[in-house]
Amino acid sequence: MSKLSLSVGPQHPGSGHMRIILTLSGDYIIEAIPDPGYVHRGEEKLAEYRNYIQNIPHLERPVVLDATGAIFPYVLAVEDLMNIIVPERAQFIRVIMAELNRIISHLYYMAIYGIFMGHSTMFMWPVGDREVFIDLANTIAGQRVTYAFLVPGGVRNDMPEKVKEQADKACNYFEKRLIEYEHIFMNNPLFEKRTKGVGILPKQDAIRLGVVGPTLRASGVKSDVRKDDTYSIYNQLDFEIPVSNACDSWSRAWIHMEEMRQSMSIIKQCLKRIPTGPVKLNLKQIKVPPGESYSRVEAARGSLSYYLISDGGKVPYRVRIMTPSFRNLITIPYIMKGVMLADMPPTYWGIDYWPVEADR
């Protein structure tokens, strides 16, 4: 059969601007080459021209859904170089925000997964339920999506007392909703048919290619930075790492569902144990001594790391951002191979690839 070359994108092969060049044989994909870069902002260069505080808002921008995950390793790296220890209450608030952002990002993932399958209800429900958590984040950090809330030395403001009640209400509501999601979407025969056994990434490949996040865990590798290279207060918390050996698109969605349950459990534990006290060190100025630091956290899509070099000046000498989407880009040729063209969008979205985050 003759081959056909097809360019998908750059206008939204899924969500965000990115192109995939497919080679088709009939209905089947025999080769897929990703072509990123349409939303490249030069964040690493920008960071060399702004001081350590001015850098915070713009470094969050590539990852609006998971702003805390994006800025968490940055503040950890700055604090590591400055050799300061953050007050404990601030550590708890940071973890609460990080887990809230994980839920917000995962809900968006489920919504877009739904619309890629032509399943409008699965688009409407998670987007609606996401508001519950956005409101909660708004109560804590004062903004809906990008907060600039984490700063070197703590968090910008203390959270109001009513958060506990609001969080309990949100979690109780959402735990029931997750069961409904399972009925309407996860166990939906149409969804299963188009994702089970599709987009396979074997365990060996996942390790070799250095894949991260839910995609890695769906390929049977039990690895999560929160446990492996623990940071902040995660070693004091009790939570599970969901793993699946199915290696397919369906199991990637399942991992996201389970992780939202774990995140809610973490938020509840934090709110129960959060101590009173200051939330920010009283730093007169951010003076970072020369040196370098590499820090990583488990953001919503996987390991997000910063390699920060300071020469003792007002601005960083070099900021290297490595995002989970950029690292998972390498899987696209593997998971697409042999997939039907009609199943390309869900397979693409299965790895939770976010073009803006990848291009930085």
């Binding site: 990123p36 870069g37 490249h40 030069g42 690493e44 260069k45 920008l46 021209y49 390790i207 070799r208 290619l209 250095g210 890695l216 590798v221 690895s223 492996d228 290279d229 623990t230 070693n235 370098e292 630091s293 590499y294 990583r296 390991s303 790391s305 390699y307 070099i309 000498y317 070099r318 290297r320 490595m322 950029f326 690292r327 880009l329 390498i330 291009d359 930085r360």
Partner: protein, 165 residues
């Protein structure tokens, strides 16, 4: 709290063991620095492949988390840093090795490590376009994120000034 100090003491042992392994095996490693869970190894660029092979095969660091270029115009050098981590070795999962070499800024060439760590594919490509560093042996050293018609110097070099700055 006792538990934390325990894991920390074993962490120091593990770090020391890794560093000692490398030092005894390769006498010509330029510098090894250890700083809580992060080990930096500086090597000469011609020794890159041998030592990378050892870190992958013997120490079990099976993937690269990032490849970074750093520009030092004053000493006319680029530093190429490979950050390495492991999934296979559970006892080393918290450790990140920064494996680095310095190359001349006038003739920025180094060997690609793609045959040892396939995970460097896009990171090396990005470092190529952002710094102009040529990774010899990389199968597809082309533009990745920059516009196709970019005709200025590589933008992450210190002598490239963004418009308005």
């Amino acid at each position: 709290m006792v538990e934390t100090s325990n894991t920390e003491s074993t962490l120091i042992e593990r770090e020391q063991k890794l560093a000692a392994d490398l030092k005894s095996r390769f006498g010509d490693v330029l510098e090894i620095t250890i700083k809580s869970k992060r080990i930096k190894i500086k090597v000469k660029s011609e020794r890159l492949l041998d030592i990378a092979n050892y870190i992958n095969n013997e120490l079990g660091f099976d993937h690269s988390t990032s490849v970074s270029g750093v520009d030092y115009p004053n000493s006319k050098e680029f530093e190429v840093v490979y950050h390495l981590s492991t999934y296979g070795r559970e006892d080393f999962r918290d450790i990140v090795i920064a494996f680095s070499t310095r190359i001349s800024r006038d003739e920025p060439k180094t060997l690609s490590l793609i045959n040892i760590w396939p995970s460097v594919e896009y990171s090396e490509r990005e470092t190529f376009e952002m710094f102009g560093i040529i990774f010899e042996g990389h199968p597809k050293l082309e533009k990745l994120l920059l516009p196709e018609d970019w005709n200025d110097i590589p933008p992450l070099r210190k002598d490239f000034k963004p418009p308005g700055r």
